[in-house]
């Protein structure tokens, strides 16, 4: 029974389920020592409209029909792309033809090696594919370099792109993501309160009779341990989630983050983890990393390179976090002997943090607005 179903299903999907999408081609450029490697994915449907592929006019395009037109496809594509490196034209070598599938159907994949005078530093690309009959066609250009990938768009209104190779674009996007990381930690009250709750007791030591001030060295050691553990943990999950290796439901992550703030704060009032606060930082840091990843999944971040986004964003989060630590820990260290710090800031502050975070937790878990 089920085997028959599979066979029927496979017949049905011999041509993969195709999305309805406006026309795009995907042009990927990798600069090398004496030129460029270019991969160009062009939809068979668009090639049919441009030069005709369906020789027997039965409405189905076969591999045989595409192979017959291989030279025509390569010539047509070549006439619609001009590559200049540092002011001199690059010449394309022969193209090889393969097939790939995108969301909207089958594509011809053309692989070229463009020969340029030297290792290109500045590229000028002029793109003219299909604009003559499809005014909404777009060419999606990816420039792949060791330092990162840039995504640019060709349209009928914007048929040329100039690209500075080398340090340029990749670094710029790293910087943008760095800024976004700093901003995210500073505006993310839940992340900050979690860190503060863990750092409040870093300048003190607790025994059966209560809290006692410690010296500079143990205070710094406790701070470094907590911050490093938190950083390591959220970097791990941020990276895993950003590359799509794991996926966690946003609502439970957000609830879990709020719960982590509650527990970290309560731990100051009723200490369970005294010297093991770095363990708390590590364990819950894993959750916070998923929270950071939701920023990288936002639509505007998709363009550009994931690696530079990840590096830049994570570095930004760490910078923002270190700035907060650098502002807080010296003050705490100076105030650690006072009643004000030991009672009001540490104990009452922790209760306050726990209360605020409990409200968040309930809101997030039950979709409430209190």
């Amino acid at each position: 029974m089920s085997r028959a179903l599979i066979v029927v299903g496979l017949l049905l999907c011999a041509v993969p389920a195709r999305a309805h999408k406006p026309s795009d081609s995907y042009l990927s450029v990798r600069p090398g020592h004496a030129g460029l490697d270019v991969r160009w994915d062009i939809a068979l449907r668009d090639l049919e409209q441009a030069i005709g592929l369906d020789a027997d006019q039965d409405g189905a395009i076969t591999w045989g029909e595409v192979r017959e037109r291989q030279d025509a496809i390569a010539a047509y594509a070549q006439s619609r792309l001009q590559v200049d490196a540092d002011g001199a034209a690059c010449t394309p070598g022969g193209a090889t033809l393969r097939i790939d599938h995108h969301t909207d159907g089958a594509y011809a994949v053309l692989d070229y090696a463009f020969a340029c005078a030297a290792a290109p530093r500045q590229l000028a690309l002029r793109y003219g594919l299909f604009f003559d009959f499809d005014a909404q066609h777009r060419g999606l250009l990816r420039v792949v370099e060791a330092g990162g990938t840039r995504v640019l768009l060709f349209s009928a209104d914007q048929p040329t792109q100039r690209i500075e190779l080398g340090a340029g674009g990749g670094w710029q996007s790293v910087r943008e993501f760095w800024r976004s990381g700093v901003w995210h930690i500073w505006s993310g009250t839940d992340h900050l309160l979690f860190l503060l709750a863990l750092l409040l007791p870093a300048v003190l030591r607790r025994d059966a009779r209560g809290w006692h001030p410690v010296g500079l060295r143990p205070a710094l050691a406790a701070t470094v341990k907590v911050v490093t553990a938190f950083t390591l943990a959220h970097s791990i999950t941020l990276s895993l989630a950003a590359v799509g290796a794991v996926h966690a439901p946003a609502r439970w992550i957000e609830t879990g983050i709020a719960a982590s703030v509650v527990l970290a704060a309560l731990n100051n009032a009723y200490p369970i983890f005294r010297d093991g606060r770095w363990l708390v930082g590590f364990g819950f840091g894993l959750l916070h990393g998923f929270g950071f990843a939701s920023v990288l999944a936002a639509p505007e971040v998709q363009v550009g390179s994931l690696l530079s986004a990840l590096l830049g964003f994570n570095a930004g989060v760490e910078t923002g976090q270190l700035a907060v630590v650098a502002a807080f820990v010296p003050l705490a260290f100076l105030a650690r002997r006072s009643w004000f710090y030991q009672r009001l800031t540490l104990v009452a502050g922790s209760w306050l943090i726990a209360a605020v975070a409990t409200v968040w937790m309930l809101q997030r878990a039950f979709d409430l607005s209190l």
């Binding site: 089920s2 309805h20 591999w63 969301t103 999606l140 999944a297 639509p299």
Partner: protein, 394 residues
């Protein structure tokens, strides 16, 4: 047990079908392997006519009559197949006039239709106003204008345009237009009765117009809270036998609200081409805990990513609904809010209400509630969703 096996088999098929998207490029081993099926067979009458006109236009691209004729053929194919490439072709044919502000009349109406499809509503309304200054009896222009004004929530203007449609188009088209606006502005029962009468009086109307009218009637019944009549009208529209994506989408939404995901799965089986229908199918499958849901969600994820890459912004409504399905409330709220700034149909209102509720931020939905109050909107579904929002303690 057997049900389980069928589910597993279906999941396997979906996975296998989806697999080529992630594989490396390859050289097919068999010349007979079919790689692509064209939306219109080349020998299809309309495809043949399109080719003839294209060939003639290649010699004389500025032949306005032929260009307009070909552009309408493309738009018709685009509507019939729900394939956006045809709108790009239509725009391409109009290239000699596209950037002219004072373009010739046929180009103005075509350009407005294409811009409406791209959700560039303000530019579409400019073109229509210019077209109607040149030709105040242009039924197509009045109707398109009424539709755009209604989508934007400008009901007074839409009603005025519909009154003009009544003068220059068939009575059924006029009544569909005006009852649609009236039913959204506090005259639900009377509009429903008027449209039902108009449909009875026009049994000879072409199937496409009847489907449009019956779908509108069914949606009015839904808004009035009459699920029994809604089902009758949806079935009558489906019985006309033409594939209509809007109808199937509206019926699927009705079934989902009636908690009948099984029926949605049957209705939309294999409807994976259109993002909107695939989304409803995935919602139904998720509710049934069907194994295909995961693969369909993945397909949608890839498609929205592909649309974003090319800079498209016409999918906000679907994307907001998709984000709600995934439980990504922050993204849903942002998308629903951006979407509400552009369009104001019932679904746009509902998504912002639902996203605000999911995000625990009812204040964001205040403009929607104010809009619904201002227009005396009668809509059982919206009332239910809005009530859920109001009951939250603040």
């Amino acid at each position: 047990m057997r049900r389980c096996a069928i589910h597993a088999a279906a999941a396997l098929v979906v996975l296998l079908c989806a697999a080529p998207g992630r594989a490396e490029p390859y050289v097919p081993g068999d010349d007979a392997a079919v790689l692509e099926r064209l939306p219109l067979a080349p020998l299809d009458a309309s495809a043949r006519r399109q080719r003839e006109l294209r060939a003639e236009l290649a010699a004389r691209p500025d032949d306005l009559d032929r260009a307009a004729q070909l552009a309408w053929l493309y738009i018709r194919s685009g509507r019939a197949t729900a394939d956006p490439r045809f709108y790009g072709y239509a725009q391409g044919v109009l290239a000699p006039w596209w950037h002219e502000r004072a373009a010739p009349l046929p180009v103005l109406v075509l350009r407005a239709t294409i811009r409406q499809h791209d959700h560039d509503f303000a530019a579409a309304l400019d073109d229509l106003a210019a077209a109607l200054r040149a030709d105040p009896t242009n039924a197509q222009a009045w109707l398109t204008q009424a539709v755009v004004q209604q989508v934007r929530g400008d009901y007074a203007a839409a009603r005025a345009s519909c009154l003009q449609v009544l003068q220059v188009a068939s009575p059924l088209v006029g009544v569909i237009c005006i009852s649609g606006v009236d039913s959204l502005t506090g005259n639900g029962a009377a509009s429903y009765a008027a449209l039902a009468r108009a449909l009875q009086r026009a049994p000879e109307a072409d199937p496409a117009t009847r489907i449009w009218g019956l779908t509108a009637l069914a949606e009015m019944a839904v808004r009035l809270g009459d699920a029994v009549q809604a089902e009758v009208h949806f079935q009558a529209a489906l019985a006309l036998g033409q594939s209509d994506d809007y109808l199937r989408g509206a019926y699927a939404d009705f079934l989902l609200d009636q908690d009948r995901p099984d029926a949605v799965r049957a209705l939309l089986a294999g409807a994976t081409q259109s993002d909107g229908l695939l989304l409803r199918l995935a919602i139904a499958e998720a509710r049934l805990h069907a194994p295909e849901a995961a693969a369909h969600v993945q397909m949608l994820r890839e498609r929205f990513a592909a649309a974003r890459q090319r800079g498209d912004r016409v999918h906000r409504r679907e994307e907001a609904r998709f984000a709600l399905l995934l439980g990504d409330t922050r993204a849903a709220l942002g998308l629903a809010r951006d979407n509400w700034a552009v369009q104001r149909e019932a679904w746009d209102a509902r998504l912002l209400l639902e996203a605000a509720q999911a995000a625990g931020d009812p204040a964001v939905a205040a403009p929607v509630l104010a809009f619904l109050r201002e227009h005396h909107t009668e809509d059982a579904t919206l009332r239910r969703v809005a009530a859920g929002l109001d009951e939250r303690p603040r």
